[in-house]
């Protein structure tokens, strides 16, 4: 079916319609008693719980405090993934030998879900700072590496030829040709990394013993406080959306500065 493009107002309206029917269905299922409240808390219960958690501590901290410690952990994990993944990806894009050595290992490893690393993360890096960061790292690392690699590998051949003709040494070729050429791809990869890292959070915090949204949810689950679990889920969803919106803005700004459309 052919369709005309929708205006901003219509798009917003459709979004609101979707959201309100979702909440409507949720209210119906929980309030009518079809699904018992322990299994599915009602939207109002969750909303009021969310509100309370903003100021009242649960499992040792308020929701914002839990989020803050989650975010710190998350930032370390994603930063580490970027700091290792981007340079390694660029080097693999330039040095064929390194590409041939690393790619087979990496192609196997990247299909292992971050949560599968939980036992080893705890064993190797402990349940304090290191373990959770490693799990977030496992989620965020592949897109950083793949996108830097692809960006460097598929740079316009003419530009590499021009640089070689100008006598550009390897280090400068990587820093001043491959890296800038790969920037749009790297930024796109960072966005995916940021999303996957944030998704790995709950898994990472399964093994945390102090604070964090995931930790809060695990504690609430232990005492069957389903509204608290769901408040945690909503917090994760909202922060994830916020991170994505901010990175999208950054990406758009960078592309416009570079003279690339959209």
């Amino acid at each position: 079916m052919a369709s005309r493009p929708l205006g901003l107002g219509e798009t917003l309206l459709l979004g609101l319609a979707g959201l309100s029917s979702f909440i409507g269905l949720w209210s119906f299922l929980s309030l009518s008693g079809i699904v018992p409240a322990q299994f599915l808390p009602g939207p109002l219960d969750v909303a009021s719980r969310f509100w309370t958690l903003l100021t009242a501590p649960f499992a040792g901290a308020t929701l914002p405090a839990h989020l803050a410690s989650s975010f710190q952990r998350y930032a370390y994990g994603v930063l580490l993934a970027a700091m290792i993944g981007i340079p390694l990806g660029l080097l693999m894009g330039f040095f064929r030998l390194l590409d041939d050595i690393v790619t087979p290992i990496f192609d196997g490893l990247r299909f292992i879900a971050p949560i599968a690393w939980v036992p080893f993360a705890a064993l190797w890096f402990g349940t304090g700072v290191g373990g959770p960061i490693m799990i977030i790292f496992a989620g965020a690392f592949p897109p950083c590496l793949i996108n830097a690699y692809r960006g460097a590998r598929f740079v316009e051949p003419r530009l590499v030829e021009a640089a070689r003709m100008l006598g550009t040494p390897s280090s400068r070729m990587i820093l001043e040709v491959l890296l800038p050429a790969a920037v749009p791809s790297i930024i796109a990869g960072l966005r995916v990394s940021a999303g996957l890292g944030w998704q790995s959070l709950v898994g990472a915090e399964l093994i945390v013993a102090a604070a964090g949204v995931g930790f809060m949810m695990v504690q609430a689950q232990g005492s069957v406080q389903t509204p608290t679990v769901m408040a945690g889920m909503i917090a994760i969803g909202l922060v994830g959306m916020l991170i994505d919106v901010l990175l999208r803005q950054g990406e758009g700004w960078l592309r416009r500065r570079r003279g690339l459309e959209s």
Binding site: R158, L159, E161, A162, E176
Partner: protein
């Protein structure tokens, strides 16, 4: 010094029975400070000739020499001007021109003097801090030419440099290149499929056959140009009107048309 020699050069793309012979026994000598244009039908391998001098491709047989030494890799002694400009989009005009000089590890003061004179040469002074995407195609190609000239290369390799420009910009660039080439002569290998362009710019024109490309004929334009005083005419259209010019152009056209499968140009 900057001479170029092709000695019995063959080029085969692919391997074994699937290989395609692109060049067949190319022999051509370009003297120091001589401007030679190669014309030929599309796919005849004329660009491959240039890419071998640049060091982007290796000959399958025979040898490609610059100043008597075989070419092994690309380098700033053989500056290339590409059809699609190949400017670095993230570098300003100045940074694009300066990269080759930085690679030579020249001191900052010397670099900025050389960049300034290259900018002046190509009338780019008012666009120093612009990014390539902010410039027209003609201006972008000026930057690419400045980037090549600033290296003071032994030979200048131009691969259909005006092919991506509109007709009017093209004429202006051709006139400027003639001005550059006559005042500051250097060895130039110029690839084009535009016959007029080749006759107007070059000292000699080499005509290639269709694939597998061979050198069919080499015409001495310079002798005619000097005898008929082409350079006394400032405008390209006046030169192109001269009987001697028309005669040479028609000769090349006929020669190209004899090539079976010749459609474009």
């Amino acid at each position: 010094m900057g001479s170029i020699s092709f000695r019995n050069v063959d080029k085969v793309f692919g391997q074994g029975t699937g290989g395609v012979k692109a060049l067949d026994d190319i022999n051509l000598d370009i003297a120091d400070k001589e401007f030679v244009a190669i014309v030929g039908p599309s796919g005849c391998g004329k660009t491959t000739c240039l890419r071998m001098v640049a060091g982007f491709e290796a000959a399958s047989a025979g040898s490609v020499l610059v100043n008597g030494r075989p070419v092994t890799a690309p380098g700033p002694d053989r500056a290339v001007v590409f059809q699609q400009f190949a400017l670095f989009p993230w570098k300003t005009v100045r940074e694009n021109i300066e990269l080759g000089l930085r690679n030579k590890n020249l001191p900052v003061g010397e670099r900025s003097d050389l960049v300034a004179s290259a900018l002046k040469l190509m009338n780019l002074e008012t666009h120093v801090d612009a990014f390539p995407h902010q410039l027209s195609g003609g201006m972008q190609q000026r930057v690419a030419i400045a980037r090549a000239y600033v290296l003071d290369p032994e030979v200048l390799l131009m691969d259909e440099p005006f092919g991506a420009l509109d007709a009017q910009t093209r004429v202006v660039m051709q006139e400027e290149l003639v001005r550059l080439a006559r005042h500051n002569p250097r060895t130039v290998l110029f690839i084009t499929h535009a016959v007029e362009e080749a006759v107007y710019l070059a000292d000699r024109v080499a005509i290639m056959t269709r694939r597998p490309g061979r050198i069919k004929e080499v015409l001495d334009i310079k002798a005619v140009r000097e005898r008929e005083k082409w350079d006394s005419h400032a405008r390209i259209e006046d030169v192109m009107d001269l009987e001697s010019f028309v005669h040479l152009r028609t000769h090349i056209w006929k020669s190209l048309r004899e090539e079976k499968g010749f459609k474009d140009v």
